[in-house]
Symmetry: C2
Subunit: 247 residues, 2 copies
């Protein structure tokens, strides 16, 4: 029987390993990674390993069944090659479990979503599961002393790739607005917040975070940022309508 | 020197212990709880202990420095009595750490926010920190196979105590809408989703969850709920504009 003819009934698990600090991983994530037949960690082509996910995995996993899977981060995203790589591991373990470690939560703006869909297209009988992980916004909230929501406040979460107009509407409509992937659009984000007087103004405050938990961590009031410079791709801005620690 | 005259420079840490399943706690939370001089767990007056937070704490903590702090859940919330109890523990450990375990994340609709503000009013020199925790929406997403956000989708998160009109606007404006504390307003939530054709309709699907991780867990498509019955207070409804596992 060829490898292709094996019926693959194993499990692909997207494991959220948190924002990058190894101790912000859950006990379930550690157990899932430890038991997996293979643990994939994403590496970005052109960047030196280990990535954030791999650093957290290696801090907790004792086995040596960790493999790299490369993602192209520039131009059109390619999920087909990673899907073939992951599918091959599932074929090698047709009733086992293959884990894919991803920073943050595997159900919130995660590479895992598209990867899993492509793997399922190749191997329709695979079970797909996820283990939740701490998200960047939660990490930034804790590190900066920012309460994300209290009482009847409403929250909007969006990537800046959704456009600055979507961000402006969210700021008009919601008490707390969390913007991901702020990098390139950061100057416009600051303009929107300044116009709404939510940049350390009478209508609220905002905090900026990038590389949280890494040596190059940058957390500060968004009002202290230069108004004309983009930020890193994975930066986060949290805007609230109030001061910290409401009574 | 009286107890009141001691300058309290200790730390009050709000520790998110996740949605209730003991293994959905982070490694940092476990370490923080283990090292704390006192660990408070909330108990609801009128409900038998242990609560969800206490069950998770007792699954991981080996010491016996766990204390109950009672919250009145009916009528006007009373934070003053719990704040006095917690402040007394901080006075007993003026340079130590006192942890307060809370389900979910301590910065997202958490009892901890108001409690910490009251403690700070009593003891201005106390340091307040938080440890993030997995939220109910993340747990429900993972258990139900629901992707919360992908690509440029936007997300709104709100408690139904913000009103059904706020919920209706969120459904009109956002790809994913997460409603907490849906209990009493559940029939109206279902009406809004049905009117938007997002109740297993052409414009999306919705999943309902209550008591996730407990024996009485209830997770199902929101379209299968009776349309005229309220749900438990801590129920969650996730509405998305798409099918699961987008490619």
């Amino acid at each position: 029987m060829s490898a292709e003819a094996v019926r693959v009934r194993g499990c692909l698990v997207g494991v959220g390993v948190g924002p990058g600090d190894p101790d912000l991983v859950t006990v379930r994530a550690v157990r899932t990674l430890e038991r997996a037949d293979v643990v994939f960690v994403p590496v970005s082509e052109g960047l030196p390993p280990p990535g954030r996910a791999e650093a957290t995995v290696r801090a907790h996993v004792t086995h040596d069944r960790i493999r790299h899977v490369a993602f192209r981060m520039t131009g059109d995203a390619d999920y087909d090659t990673p899907a073939v790589t992951v599918s091959q591991a599932l074929r090698e373990h047709p009733t086992g479990s293959v884990a894919f470690a991803t920073i943050g939560d595997p159900n919130v703006y995660s590479t895992f979503t598209t990867l899993a869909a492509r793997v399922r297209a190749l191997l329709p009988e695979v079970t797909i599961e996820t283990v939740p992980g701490i998200m960047a916004m939660q990490d930034l909230a804790a590190r900066s002393g920012t309460v994300l929501a209290v009482g009847t406040e409403t929250v909007a979460l969006l990537p800046l790739t959704a456009g600055v107009d979507a961000y402006r509407r969210a700021v008009a409509d919601h008490d707390t607005v969390i913007a991901y992937k702020g990098g390139r659009a950061l100057p416009q984000v600051l303009d929107v917040l300044a116009a709404a007087d939510r940049l350390d103004g009478t209508h609220g405050t905002a905090v900026y975070g990038a590389c949280t938990g890494l040596p190059e961590e940058d957390i500060r009031p968004a009002g202290e940022l230069p108004r004309d410079r983009p930020g890193p791709y994975l930066s986060t801005v949290i805007s609230t309508r109030r001061r910290q620690w409401p009574a």
